[in-house]
Amino acid sequence: MAAQYLYAITHNHGPTLPALAGVEGVPIAAVAVPPLAAVVAPLTVRSLPPTEAYLWQHEAVLEALMQQQTILPVRFGTLLRDVEAVREVLTRHAATFEADLERVRGCVELSLRVLWEQEPPADPQSGRDYLLGRLAQQQQARTRADALHTPLAALARDTRLRLLETPRMLLTAAYLVEQTQVAHVRQTVAELAHEHPDLQLLCTGPWPVYHFVSKLAD
């Protein structure tokens, strides 16, 4: 029996799946355990390398589904043993999936990354200098990130925020935004960019709500 490549979890009572070919050109299909369904495609490979082409094929399926209904995106590369294993996952985590679907209903994910230029700190003259210098740096990052994050968070149903993933990457954020709010967010990002000309902003989307799906224990 073929392994099942998993794209998304949806409601079973949603519209009929579009006729779509996903990764490796294999058409997608639904495995239902009412009221939920998983969107899958049988694959014969044991694992899928994260090449650019494969990633976009995965993404294209999710986006086509998103046009039609609320989905929980599954991260790239998830393969289950067979259809029975898919049913098992749907059954075991039904409550989590249903709660998540409710939480993200009608929403998309927008992503924001911000770069800043930091002056290299002066050579510390003492231990105290060094530690307080580091603290000042950290506080400055928090203050600057807050100035961008707070107005955007006000437009979002939920957010994920990380500071300084690299020393230059001031902020990495994901916003769970109602579709009707996307234009508003874009406007706000544009205003923030004007208020903070020394920062570089990159806002992308709309994406499937990757960061707002509960992580499962297994």
């Binding site: 580091r134 950290q138 690299t166 020393p167 544009a190 960019a193 000309p197 992308t204």
Partner: protein
Amino acid sequence: MDTNKLIYETGDLEAFAAELEKLHSAATLPQRIATDPESVERGLAQLVLTLIELLRQLMERQALRRVEHGSLSDEEIERLGQTFLKLKQRMDELKQTFDLRDEDLNINLGPLGDLL
């Protein structure tokens, strides 16, 4: 990137790509250490220094938190600061010796990263 996905952008996409590249390479600690004599030393050094760097960062953050909450005396701040400063300088030297960049010593902690 698919330009349809671009909502708003100031500055230069190359710069973002370069930072993301660093994050990405951080996720790839060597799966196995090459055992030819030329590279074994560097591979081991990378592994060991990555762990030390992680501990250094964790301890430094903890120290900063305590400074922030005012639970350290001036003397303690000076002593801790000296320790971290020396540790950092020593790490910089070792990085240079083994020709390692900052991003070579970064572990992608996944959800654990939030603890930092």
